[in-house]
């Protein structure tokens, strides 16, 4: 998928003016955040916090031995009868899938939700190769119908109102008009049922791979995941190389925090643990199972200041908590992953300069880290990305010059004092109550008054007090 992160500021402004979008995102994120808090702390705050810290440790454990675990996972998955393929980049993922499709004579594909397939642009590649490709997660199905991109990693259609979805289904699929969400979902299900039965290949993502057992784990809520991974004769799973966990025990921990953080559920409706294709004595399951382990920029993050972000389990809690995401929705971020984790991942997985607005799209309020089930320090990484942008010269020269001036002046109390004094006199000419037409403070003064510089700074007051006191002390 192409990145439009460079246009964040303009896209955010557009989003702010989009009233239905504002209402839809606010409602959805507020609800999700509230449900998350309830679920995480149902057994008390200490218990929930301990769960978070243990989950973080499980992810650290996995990342610290990632190369070994990947090899172990490959061996175990292979022993379980799966075919493991590696893909360096987006093109190689699409190539692998097309080769598999050709081998099995695939004409129709059903897909379960997979963010990595968005990342590598798989749908477009398959459709261009003449393969009918249908998203079956309800949200993704609607997104595909609308020709849009997901705006949230868990609830991709969060930006659309129920009414907008109804109109889309009526217009594109001749659904009899209804205002009932359940009726709409039933209609979509009917529509999808035929596709499930006729698909030649199912494509899914993967939430975890357990290295010690060679198990592919998937967490879903709609049942489509089970259809996609069991009905067609071929199942292909795209999994990022960072998704490996060491042991079944670590998985047991993470599978508790993921649904709690994502949707406020103690357990997702469907938890899949796939240990290979159908065995001779089994009555269902695919004949062939392929696991494509996708790098696509991840190994370049490994071993850097940003390795921590590879621990992300894609729960979306940081989006639901983020006041900036609430104000802009996901599309403004311009690529696959929005919100705070997107602001870190997009510059790292695409291009730092292109994505330069994203690390600045944060007040550093710290809520994202607070809710992250694996305690990823996103604010710290946003700060480091800002540093990298500055050091690479990717910030406006006016800012750089201003900051150099500030640094020089602030270092010398006398110079700073003189500058403040001059600014105070200059400020007298500025009127209250309206926007400054120009300059870096133009935007600020559009909706805020500027504070006034004090006639007597604290340091001058202190000096005067001391002087008065020493006079008092004189005999």
């Amino acid at each position: 998928m192409d990145s439009h992160a460079a246009e964040f500021v303009v896209a955010a402004r557009r989003a702010l003016a989009d009233t239905p979008l504002q209402a839809a995102v606010k409602r959805a994120t507020d609800t999700a955040a509230r449900k998350r808090d309830l679920a995480m702390f149902a057994a008390g705050r200490d218990y929930g916090e301990a769960l978070r810290q243990q989950s973080a440790a499980a992810r650290h454990r996995a990342l610290s031995q990632l190369p070994d675990l990947l090899e172990q996972a490959e061996a175990r998955l292979t022993a379980n009868g799966a075919t493991v393929l590696w893909a360096v980049d987006a093109a190689e993922v699409c190539q692998h899938v097309q080769t598999i499709a050709a081998q099995h004579g695939v004409r129709r594909v059903t897909k379960a939700k997979s963010m990595i397939s968005e990342e590598v642009g798989l749908n477009d590649a398959l459709i261009a190769a003449g393969i009918e490709t249908l998203e079956t997660d309800l949200g993704e199905f609607i997104i595909q119908l609308a020709g849009e991109a997901p705006s949230h990693i868990v609830t991709p259609v969060i930006h659309k109102s129920k009414e907008a979805i109804r109109d889309l289904l009526v217009e594109r699929l001749d659904m009899p008009p209804t205002d009932d969400a359940g009726t709409m979902a039933r209609f979509a299900r009917e529509h999808l049922r035929a596709a499930f039965l006729s698909a030649d290949m199912g494509i899914s993502g993967g939430n975890f791979i357990i290295a010690e057992t060679g198990t592919l784990c998937l967490v879903t809520n709609e049942g489509n995941g089970r259809m996609v991974t069991t009905l067609p004769p071929v199942h292909v799973a795209l999994v990022g190389i960072e998704k490996v966990v060491a042991t079944l025990e670590d998985y047991a921990l993470l599978t508790q925090v993921l649904p709690r953080s994502a949707t406020g559920q103690a357990l997702a409706v469907y938890t899949h643990m796939i240990n290979g294709p159908r065995r001779p004595d089994e009555i269902d399951g695919p004949e062939a199972l392929y696991i494509i382990l996708v790098d696509n920029g991840r190994s370049a993050i490994y071993g850097t200041d940003y390795a921590e972000v590879l621990g992300c389990i894609r729960c979306g809690a940081c989006m639901n908590a983020c006041p900036i995401y609430e104000a802009t929705g996901g599309h403004a971020y311009g690529w696959v992953y929005p919100g705070p984790v997107g602001a870190v991942l997009t510059p790292l997985l695409t291009d730092l300069q292109e994505a330069s607005p994203l690390p600045y799209a944060s007040t550093l309020c710290g809520k994202c880290k607070e809710v992250c089930p694996v305690d990823i320090d996103l604010p710290r990484m946003l700060l480091d990305l800002r540093r990298d942008l500055v050091n690479a010269g990717h910030t406006p020269w006016l800012w750089a010059a201003g900051m150099r001036g500030w640094s020089l002046a602030a270092r010398s109390p006398r110079l700073f004092d003189a500058a403040a004094h001059a600014a105070r006199i200059g400020q007298r000419a500025l009127p209250d109550g309206r926007k400054l037409p120009l300059g870096p403070l133009g935007g600020w003064t559009a909706s805020r008054e500027l504070p006034r510089i004090a006639a007597q700074p604290f340091r001058a007051w202190w000096a005067a007090q001391e002087k008065a006191q020493s006079h008092d002390d004189e005999p």
Partner: protein
């Protein structure tokens, strides 16, 4: 944040790190902090060589520009056993970010870690450091307050209960909740200048909650949030204002301890 081996500040003189915003924009906050500390019998010093902690540049990614200021801070405050600041975000800068800034400079890192353990945000110093919540204050007439939790103080230093406890203990003061008190006001330093529309969207929500709050006075532990929210309230023509906790508390000091405000 974990601070291993925090020496107790009881009985020690205090050096006030007043912060550049308080120094030049809101000196009365600094005066209030001094008066409160003196009221408790604490000896207060003000190292005049102090400057900005470097946070504005640091948070913008300008670490090279921030570093000389951080070094200056370490030099000025190095020998001082207790440092108190009326700002959650500047305290965060010193406690959390200095050790990161000097991660590859062992001598400076050692200084930074030592200073981190000796630096306190004002309400934290009073409640957790000195162990007092009742400062023996009394307002002339009953007043109702609500607290806006500034993000840095709340999530990086674990503050919030201290300000509420201090206010609640003031005679004639009542503390009521503020809806979404822990939501960011949208300031974010450079953020509010770089992305003013987005910042204003967050500010509008905060102001909405403040206007709906039954307390006429909202207090906070950071003058940066105060400046931002008051800038918005003033532009909207609202009469409410956010005040720094130190000033709200200092109103309860005995008359004779309140004098000597700086000239505006």
């Amino acid at each position: 944040m974990d601070l291993p081996e925090r020496p107790s500040p009881v009985g020690q003189p205090v050096a006030l790190f007043v912060t550049c915003l308080v120094d030049y924009l809101f000196p009365s906050t600094g005066v209030a902090a001094v008066r409160l500390l003196e009221h408790l019998g604490v000896t207060v010093r003000f190292p005049a060589a102090q400057a900005c902690c470097g946070q504005p540049g640091y948070n913008g990614g300008y670490q090279h520009e921030a570093q000389p200021l951080a070094e200056r801070f370490l030099d000025v405050f190095y020998d001082i056993p207790v440092i108190v600041s009326p700002s959650g975000s500047c305290t965060t800068m010193i406690r959390q970010e200095y050790p990161r800034l000097f991660a590859n400079d062992p001598p400076r890192l050692e200084q930074a870690q030592a200073i981190a353990a000796r630096t306190w945000e004002l309400t934290e110093y009073l409640v957790d450091g000195l162990g007092v919540t009742n400062l023996g204050l009394r307002l002339d007439a009953p007043q109702t307050f609500a607290v806006h939790d500034s993000c840095h103080g709340l999530r990086y230093l674990g503050l919030g209960r201290q300000a509420r406890a201090l206010l609640t203990a003031v005679e004639n003061a009542t503390v009521v909740p503020l809806e979404d008190a822990d939501e960011c006001c949208g300031f974010g330093g450079l953020f509010s200048v770089k992305m003013p529309d987005l910042s204003a969207a967050l500010l509008r929500k905060k102001i909405g909650h403040i206007r709906a709050c039954e307390a006429p006075t909202i207090v906070t532990g950071d003058v940066s949030c105060m400046m931002h929210i008051n800038g918005g309230l003033a532009r909207e023509g609202a009469s409410r204002r956010v005040r720094h906790i130190a000033e709200a508390l200092a109103d309860g000091l005995p008359e004779r301890e309140r004098d000597g405000q700086p000239r505006r």
